[in-house]
């Protein structure tokens, strides 16, 4: 494979994968929605879950994006320092988004700030968003793809608390968002919480938290306990599907954390909606790929 062929192949696969993730939800989200839907016993909540399942079925059959808001496209990378196409990756990802936008088709969701016009291609300055993690001694490329919708990006919030406010302050920060903006972000939500030392570390962690498969836990015992407490607490609010009341509120709560300066606690929240369009694909240096977010994908 020449370099040009490799670049074309990588672009093509990523474009098709992004297209696919706009139409089919990942396995873990599908399973969790079923589980939550089965617990509901009011006609209202049941009717909404039924509409969701029917929608996903129709989207697949008719090959259409399942939600009209296909989001701003984001890529969270773990790229081996020895991955042969590291240098080309940024332009490959942009090109892949242009292709997916045309073929899927995706809604045009990239507006240049200040100049305030829609580029019509889903690319712009810094869009698609690319978050890099370089992995030394690896020749693999791991990509999390994400469609960040407007409704589910809106509740996002970060701030720096004083240590005196403690994890009690973190709790209130997270919970308040649930009943203000969270309500309209199409629950059941996936709640990503970042805890770090400043707004940007916390904010990035909160987005990374949304990339974790459902049902995984933070390796720190206390953090894992807090995930569980928040999950139970938010579920007790009973937002239900679409915020119209029900037995539960969330798909899960994920906390990601780093150390902090002794004088501050940086905290951030990012939410994913019921239509949590995340994909996970891993390439080796020969560009063989494995997809573990969705089974049975044919690209």
């Amino acid at each position: 494979m020449t370099k040009d062929e490799a670049v074309a192949r990588l672009t093509d696969i990523i474009a098709k994968f992004v297209d696919y993730t706009g139409k089919v939800l990942p396995d873990d989200v599908k399973k969790k929605l079923r589980e939550l839907g089965d617990q509901e016993d009011t006609p209202l909540a049941m009717a909404i879950y039924e509409a969701m399942f029917k929608n996903q079925e129709l989207a697949r059959q008719l090959n259409r994006p399942s939600c009209q808001d296909t989001g701003a496209i984001q890529f969270l990378l773990k790229c081996g320092a020895k991955f042969p196409y590291l240098g080309e990756l940024e332009s490959i990802l942009r090109e892949a988004v242009i292709q997916a936008t045309k073929n899927a088709p995706l809604r045009h969701n990239s507006v240049e700030t200040f100049d305030e016009y829609n580029t019509g291609k889903n690319i712009g300055k810094g869009i698609p968003t690319i978050f890099w993690d370089i992995v030394p001694d690896s020749d693999q490329l791991e990509i999390n793809t994400y469609m960040a919708g407007g409704g589910c990006s809106l509740p996002g919030k970060a701030m720096v608390l004083m240590p005196g406010e403690g994890y009690e302050g973190v709790t209130r920060f997270v919970m308040d968002i649930m009943t203000s903006y969270g309500l309209n972000a199409c629950p059941p939500l996936l709640v990503g919480v970042g805890i770090g030392t400043s707004v940007e570390t916390a904010a990035l962690l909160s987005k990374k938290a949304l990339m974790r498969p459902l049902g995984t836990h933070n390796p720190n015992e206390r953090a894992a306990a807090m995930e569980k407490l928040l999950e139970e607490g938010i579920n007790q609010i009973g937002l239900g599907p679409q915020g119209l009341t029900g037995k539960n509120s969330v798909l899960g709560v994920h906390i990601e954390n780093t150390a902090r300066h002794p004088s501050v606690i940086g905290v951030a929240v990012n939410v994913g909606c019921w239509s949590h369009r995340r994909g996970h694909i891993v390439f080796d240096r020969e560009l063989h790929y494995t997809i573990d977010s969705h089974t049975g994908v044919e690209l």
């Binding site: 209202l44 509409a51 403690g166 308040d176 679409q242 915020g243």
Partner: protein, 203 residues
Amino acid sequence: MAKKILTTPITAEDLADIHVGDIIYLNGHITTCRDVAHRRLIEEGRKLPVDLDGGAILHAGPIIRTLSEDQYEMVSVGPTTSMRMEKFEEEFIKETGVKLIVGKGGMGEGTMRGCRDYKALHAVFPAGCAVVAATCVEKIEEVNWKDLGMPETLWTCKVKEFGPLIVSIDTHGRNLFEENKVTFNQRKEAAIAEICKQVSFIK
């Protein structure tokens, strides 16, 4: 429970025994109508090109495929946040005689008054279910104010069992989202108190 289906033109009597939280469906016609159309009618006093008396509107900006000069196909349509139209909606209901407003999320005091005094409903279509909504559209029958661009154009659609629509404001002065908010906040405070007992990690 039998499916409750409204058919346009809708009368005030049709709405009398419908309450917040009920699930309804729509047969007949619904016209997409959002920000600028509301503004034109209320602020600029222009007459709407569609007769909405007894009719239904949808707060939405659809994706439409043009098949030929005057033939269109609904590809995807999802409700947009209704609250943006709150400022105009009471007047809008009074002026047009519209009987059903469909959107996303709740609306406020004004719309509640409009629905109560002039007999109309606000209902939500589950967001994120754009393909279900699009496939309920049998045909796009009329197109008006195309100068507003695809999302804002008034697309009059013939629909069959369009729904589920969850009634959020009824003709009796009730507003589901506002009522829920009170309960949610009470439950939230209780949950916070419970969690805070167990997260005193800083000692």
